[in-house]
């Protein structure tokens, strides 16, 4: 009896090992080939120089030393930080506002939600094309409106300062819908009993927002901030599509990932490109780590 039972358990255990490995096999094999091994390969490539015909020579840390002397790389990191620092707070603030407004009992919610979400389902290449036209200095929509107000047209996409603003506006416009939905899901988790209790105590909408909504939404807000930070640091599509290669403003607005793409695939400097993207990886890691540490101060679980 005892023997049979232990046999059964043994079979059960062997079965678990068999099925467990069999079922994770496709994902894990794919993950190792496509992701885990490539991490190490990129780290290795960042220590090499890629020559003609795919020849790779080991050069140690030279790429990293060169990066610190490459004005284009330093400028692209700076551009990326400026883009991120402008996009994240404004974008998250507007997403939260939209989510809170849509969380109230009003009619036509689906219509608003649809309008806000449309940019999320649009192809970035098309979005960038559309905005290039809107920001067109002579015939664009924005300068047309400005001229009605008596303001002289602005060279949106050819002056560094304005080009960055234009890209930031498009970046924010593209992400509001997505973050709004995530925050809305968080808001709907808040039990209505809190609000009922506050109403009995005579709290108005503003007090309710600051004393109930905001503290209870912090975990979701934290998630949204972190993901927006990471995706902003990786901005590519908008800049690649909105700013021509021949546009003199390019060095002043191109992001790290755009530069990584240009070095790695247009100039075929894969070793140098690998070093640039490795640097970005460490920057993202550092910022995420700092945010995880800081969250204890403001996120309420």
């Amino acid at each position: 009896m005892n023997n049979r039972k232990s046999n059964y358990l043994k079979n059960q255990k062997m079965g678990n090992i068999y099925w467990g490995y069999l079922m994770i096999a496709p994902t894990m094999i794919g993950l190792f080939i496509l992701n885990i091994f490539p991490i190490f390969q990129t780290l290795y490539l960042s220590l090499t120089k890629s020559g003609a015909f795919g020849k790779v020579t080991f050069i140690g840390l030279k790429n990293y030393i060169d990066i610190f002397h490459d004005k284009l790389v330093i400028q692209s990191f700076l551009n990326t930080f400026i883009y991120t620092i402008l996009t994240v707070p404004v974008g998250v603030f507007l997403s939260l506002t939209a989510a809170v407004l849509l969380n109230s009992k009003i009619k036509g919610k689906t219509v608003y939600r649809t309008l806000f979400f449309l940019p999320v389902v649009s192809v970035p290449a098309a979005v960038a094309l559309v905005w290039r036209w809107i920001f067109n200095s002579k015939f664009g929509f924005i300068n047309n409106i400005l001229s009605l107000l008596g303001v002289k047209g602005i060279n949106w996409l050819t002056e560094p300062k304005f080009a960055m603003i234009a890209i930031v506006v498009v970046g924010i416009w593209s992400m509001i819908g997505y973050n709004m939905i995530v925050l809305l899901a968080g808001l709907q988790e808040i039990s209505p009993t809190y609000y009922e209790a506050a109403e009995i105590d005579g709290a108005g909408p503003i007090r309710k927002f600051f004393f109930i909504t905001l503290p209870l939404i912090t975990p979701t807000l934290f998630f949204v901030i972190i993901t927006t930070f990471i995706s902003s640091l990786q901005v590519f599509d908008l800049i690649y599509m909105m700013i021509e290669r021949t546009n003199a403003v390019l060095p002043k607005v191109q992001s790290v990932v755009v530069l990584f793409y240009r070095y790695s695939f247009e100039r075929n400097m894969k070793g140098y490109g690998s070093a640039i993207i490795t640097m970005l990886f460490f920057v993202i890691l550092l910022i995420t780590y700092v945010q995880l540490k800081l969250q204890k101060k403001w996120v309420h679980y």
């Binding site: 099925w19 894990m28 990129t42 389902v121 979005v127 809305l184 970005l280």
Partner: protein
């Protein structure tokens, strides 16, 4: 709910009146803010549509017209003639279908094993899933490109599909989903002598349907919007998806904005229609990504 409350409060006199006017005012502010927001979100689309029907001289005349003088479709035919849009659609749909089916199924398998089967090394394996999610995707791109190149797959649908056949994010997402399902469901099947595969396909997969639909929509949206990878692996126009194909339009119609706008509409519309049809699934898919 709202109408119920109102009817029960009717006839309570002054206080109710005050409360309802207060609510009405509040609703007005909310609507005003949301309408302003909607205009900001929607004007680019309107301006695109209006421009797409204008002739080039009309689009660049000063002062501008708002509505086109004549609605002509020549910009659309120009865009369709200069680029193989129907190939772009086909390539995009093919990539999305293959990616969605293969990666969702693999992710569900792995997710079930990680959530419900105890085997040695499970935690270490799962750690690799987490690592993939934390590393920026560009880190993988050069090695992935080198593999595709070595396999001679450049300029093929296969190249577009390749990095998307497995998904760490999807595995993580579905694992959460499986962990939330009650254990008792499996016990009866185990007593009946079903093996793990039978439990997975007969009991778990049907239960995970909503999670898998959300993941599918997520995968589709990602494949639809991806630009860098298609630009890298496919330079042949016939093999490009919409995202990269549209990028070629700029080179040809650099300043012919009406044609560019027509092209943008051709590229945006399909997913907008899909979104409007499956709005609920899109929203729940995105909501799920927030870890809820």
């Amino acid at each position: 709910m709202g109408s119920l409350l109102e009817s029960s409060e009717k006839g309570k006199g002054d206080i109710v009146m005050k409360k309802s006017t207060y609510k009405y005012k509040n609703g007005l502010t909310i609507h005003t803010l949301l309408i302003i927001g909607s205009i900001f979100m929607f004007i680019p689309f309107i301006w695109t549509i209006l421009t797409a029907f204008k002739t080039l001289p009309e689009a660049i005349q000063v002062p501008p017209t708002i509505l086109p003088e004549n609605y002509n479709f020549s910009n659309f035919t120009k865009a369709l003639k200069s680029l193989p849009f129907f190939r772009f659609y086909f390539n995009t749909i093919a990539v999305i279908i293959i990616r969605v089916i293969v990666s969702t199924f693999f992710a569900a398998m792995a997710a079930y094993a990680f959530a419900r089967i105890k085997f040695p090394g499970r935690n270490i394996m799962f750690m690799f899933v987490l690592i993939q999610m934390m590393v920026p995707t560009q880190i993988f791109i050069i090695p992935q490109y080198l593999i595709v190149q070595k396999l001679g797959m450049l300029n093929s649908i296969g190249a577009l599909v390749f990095p998307g056949i497995v998904t760490a994010f999807g595995t993580f997402l579905l694992r959460q989903f499986f962990m939330g399902l009650p254990m008792e469901l499996e016990e009866a099947a185990i007593i009946d002598g079903a093996n793990k595969w039978q439990i997975f396909t007969k009991i778990m997969l049907p239960l995970a349907r909503s999670g898998m639909i959300s993941l599918s929509i997520f995968t589709a949206l990602f494949a639809w919007k991806d630009l860098m990878w298609p630009l890298i692996v496919n330079s042949d126009l016939e093999k490009m998806p919409l995202s990269a194909g549209l990028a070629q339009l700029i080179g040809q119609f650099f300043t012919d904005y009406p044609v560019l706008m027509a092209g943008s509409i051709l590229a945006i519309t399909p997913m907008v229609i899909v979104f409007i049809l499956f709005q609920k699934q899109f929203i729940s898919g995105v909501a799920l990504s927030g870890g809820k």
